[in-house]
């Protein structure tokens, strides 16, 4: 799967950040070309696709601790020599940490919905129950 994904070319229209180069109206120079000015994230994705194809999805799996055995060892070996994948891993870690921090609050007083739910059952839930 990793090899196939590595060889697959993303449709240009689906790559955000890419800009079509306007062709010179007289010479047609630049027609069909794409600007190299892409965002760092897109460039990183391209690098991973080109250089680390089979590791791209697996890196996310490794980050989740769901890669085992030889696959995990291969990933660790790759990370030692690949700054692009190390940077990608660090970004995942930052996003996770930020999401954890954000999810901690602000917190509101717990207001139970039990009474509302049981009242709705009284309004018509009984007939439908499989009990």
């Amino acid at each position: 799967v990793g090899t196939a994904a590595g060889k697959r070319r993303l449709p240009k229209r689906e790559i955000p950040g890419m800009v079509v180069v306007r062709a010179d109206p007289l010479t047609r120079e630049g027609a069909g070309m794409w600007s190299d000015t892409v965002s760092p994230v897109i460039q990183e994705t391209r690098d991973m696709r080109d250089n680390c194809g089979k590791f791209a999805v697996e890196l996310s799996v490794y980050f989740d601790g769901e890669l085992e055995g030889e696959a995990a060892e291969a990933m660790e070996g790759h990370l030692e020599v690949c700054p692009s994948c190390r940077a990608s891993l660090e970004k995942m870690r930052r996003i996770r940490s930020a999401m954890h921090t954000a999810a901690k609050g602000p917190r509101t007083q717990r207001r139970s919905m039990v009474d509302e739910i049981m009242a709705r059952l009284d309004d018509g839930g009984k007939e439908s129950t499989g009990a």
Binding site: A102, L121, T129
Partner: protein, 216 residues
Amino acid sequence: MAKPATATAQAASDHILDTRRLDNADDSTLISAFKEGDRAAFQALVEKYETRVYNHCVRVVGDDVESRDLTQEVFLKVYRSIHKYEHTYAFYTWLYRITVNCCIDHMRKKRRHTQTVSLTQGFQVDAGEQGKEQEIPDEQFGPEHRLVNSELRDVLNDAIAQLSEKLRTIIVLKEVEGFSYEEIADILGCSRGTVKSRLFRARERLKELLAEYVDA
């Protein structure tokens, strides 16, 4: 041991668990009692899981009122379809599947409108946990982009709101709620491979949307 006066009384005696047993009963016991007609057992399940169901709803849908409605809808579906529940999966997994599907259906209906989500809006905790929140700078984003929590939430909520329903759901299940790949596959009714690829896509999209903050 005295016999109940009537068969009805015997049935009632069999079906109605006392309060102490309900408080300590596991899911399997509660479900069995509920299937036999014990409403108190269903109420105990609601009390046990309502906060977790609500929190998932508000994390992916973002609106307190809508999330409360969704939570009620989830438990009404549980009530109506408990006879379909089999012990192949943990009740918690089955409940989450219903919750996720209700949220995705809801978000699809709202897709035409601009959405905002909140990892925390109306986030419920028990009374004892109230007041612990502080404005702590996040040290994990890049040094030049340390944010206090309120700013961090805004940035993240905006980014998550731009994800598709499926990507939003899976990133919350994994990063906030901490489910394993196997559990997520069971909840979503998909393969482990789909979980892998969907999480990868969600993360790539978030990296792109949060590039200003996560780039070294």
